[in-house]
């Protein structure tokens, strides 16, 4: 299912604190349901380029949850007469510059220009037999967002899934209660404020040391050093691994060639149309 051609105006339905991050929701009445890992280019309708002449370009945000909205027709209450009111799209965000700061301030009822869903998605684990280790989701910081939709998607397919999440400190963490309330999560934190005192990759290392690990598939999203570490560990252990990456992106649909990521043999991927999900080893480094 392709994205609607062009950008469309969607309304903000909610924006609230989620730990140290913000979680905001948009009502998308036009677009198809996104796949896990896909992203949208977002820009507020008002006060986008007007303030200090930045931001100008839309910002790429992975979708964290997509919930179909329906309402019953009043004339007939039969369930099959429910009509679609579109999707509620949830985005987890941390203000780190003029664009993300503006998106953090969005208020209910404001308009947001939306282009998407864009990009590719994760592939399911190849090994799905009864004894298989299933999926291991590894998230770091704001990078936990696309893993929420992936976890829900795998749960719907009865794919066994374990979730490992790491955060720098309490101020740089969030989304847990809102996006992962439903399931067991193993936590790590750099400062020891929650879970294992150390990196989330420590948790992954012990998990991969288990004797069923060869049938596992690892899905990671987080800061580049974490992605590089996860990719190396999985390549060394012979475990299938996909990384959801980020790079500077002006357009999101292959036009600007800004999001180039080096491939190991030379040349570049365009992360917007060749990613944002790549196989470990498909890129030289996650440091875009």
């Amino acid at each position: 299912m392709t994205a609607p051609f062009g950008r469309r105006l969607c309304e903000v339905s909610e924006n609230r604190a989620s730990g140290g991050y913000r979680l905001f929701s948009l009502i998308d009445e036009e677009g198809p349901e996104p796949e896990p890992g896909q992203f949208y280019m977002l820009a507020s309708e008002q006060h986008w380029e007007q303030r200090s002449q930045r931001p100008l370009l839309p910002r790429a945000l992975s979708v964290a949850e997509a919930t179909p909205l329906t309402s019953s027709l009043t004339a007939n209450s039969a369930a099959k007469d429910e009509v679609s009111d579109g999707l509620r799209l949830d985005f987890l965000i941390e203000g780190i510059g003029p664009g993300t700061d503006r998106l953090c301030e969005l208020r209910e009822g404001e308009g947001v220009w939306v282009n998407g869903p864009l990009g590719n998605t994760f592939s399911p684990p190849r090994e799905l037999s009864a004894g298989a280790a299933g999926a291991i989701l590894v998230g770091g910081g704001i990078g936990i967002a696309p893993l929420a939709l992936l976890r829900r998607n795998f749960a719907a397919q009865n794919i066994p899934t374990r979730v490992l999440l790491g955060f720098r400190d309490a101020a740089h963490s969030g989304g847990l209660d809102d996006l992962f309330a439903c399931c067991e999560v193993r936590l790590a934190s750099d400062d020891g404020h929650a879970g294992h005192h150390g990196y989330v990759t420590d948790l992954l290392a012990s998990m991969l040391a288990g004797d069923d690990a060869s049938s596992a598939a690892v899905y990671a999203c987080g800061p580049p050093p974490m992605l590089d570490a996860v990719g190396s560990m999985c390549l060394a252990a012979g475990v299938a691994c996909e990384l959801a990456m980020e790079s500077p992106m002006a357009c999101g649909y292959g036009a600007c060639f800004g999001c180039a990521v080096p491939k190991p043999g030379g040349g570049y991927l365009r992360l917007c149309v060749d990613g944002p999900v790549v196989r470990a080893g498909e890129v030289e480094t996650a440091h875009a």
Partner: protein
């Protein structure tokens, strides 16, 4: 219906080379792209004789009301373009203009000959002004070099040749005059302005190459001045561009002397920007015809 070098176009708005990849966009948006194609002609990304992978990242940097880019002309080279890209671009519902660039006259001649003989191609744009590739600077900065290049290429094809002018010269009109004297059918301007910005986090340029080309609304007044200067100096049609994001912006360029206008950076914000700008221009023309446009002095 504007006529541009004998090519009849649906409206005045085309794309700036390198700001819209119709092949990638069709993968993303499907055939709706063809049904609602935003431009009245499509200008390809620049092709070079041999394939290029492009520059090392970081390639783009947002600046006040603009952005700097240093992409480095990634493309499949002439053979790859003809075999893989041209058949797909031929499916677009509008005339195709192929942008070409080479480091020497012989190589330029090879490109113009090979591309010009393809029936899918309506016209060619000669990239003599891209500030990201060292070789691009030389010809486009020198009126004599530009005229000599055109004299060499002009006999090789009957198709229109458009010269893309660089704004990074003291007198772009002198280069435009030389291009027209050499046989150019049209000129397009402006290409990006040489620019740099420092990343406050590192103290180093935000662009890995150290500098790049500035585009977006920030460059529009510079572009308007250059289009006016060129329009006063040559009789060939002008494709005006530089920070166009609305019909009002496009009308500025038409008033300054452009025959067509091109949308560039705004495509990144809005994939259908070309269509929107064209609609707004048509609306303004219609309003002027019906006499409802009040005179404003602001």
């Amino acid at each position: 219906m504007p006529d541009f070098c004998g090519i009849e176009l649906r409206h005045e708005v085309i794309n700036a080379s390198g700001t819209f990849d119709a092949i990638a966009a069709r993968r993303v948006y499907g055939d709706t792209l063809l049904e609602r194609f935003p431009f009245s002609a499509f200008v390809s990304k620049t092709i070079t004789p041999e394939a290029r992978v492009g520059n090392q990242p970081q390639r783009i940097w947002e600046t006040p009301a603009g952005m700097i880019n240093s992409i480095g002309l990634p493309n499949k080279g002439l053979a790859g373009f003809l075999a893989e890209d041209l058949p797909q671009l031929a499916e677009l519902p509008v005339p195709l203009i192929v942008s070409v660039m080479a480091t020497g006259r012989d190589e330029f001649a090879r490109l113009v000959t090979a591309v010009g003989e393809r029936p899918e191609v309506a016209a060619m744009e000669l990239n003599v002004s891209c500030p990201n590739v060292h070789s691009g600077l030389i010809v486009g900065e020198q009126p004599a070099e530009t005229e000599a290049l055109l004299e060499a290429l002009r006999p090789l094809t009957e198709k229109p040749l458009i010269v893309k002018l660089t704004p990074n010269v003291a007198d772009p009109a002198a280069v435009a005059v030389a291009a027209a004297q050499g046989g150019a059918d049209a000129v397009s301007l402006i290409n990006t302005l040489k620019a740099s910005a420092i990343d406050p986090a590192t103290g180093q340029p935000g662009i890995a190459a150290g500098h790049g080309g500035l585009s977006g609304p920030a460059v529009r007044p510079v572009a308007i001045a250059q289009v006016r200067a060129v329009a006063a100096a040559v009789d060939v049609p002008i494709v005006g561009m530089g920070g166009i994001s609305s019909g009002a912006d496009g009308l500025e360029f038409l008033a300054a002397g452009a025959t067509l206008v091109a949308v560039g950076t705004e495509n990144f914000r809005d994939p259908r920007a070309g269509d929107r700008v064209a609609g707004e221009i048509a609306g303004a023309f219609e309003a002027a015809r019906s006499g409802s446009l009040s005179r404003r002095h602001s």
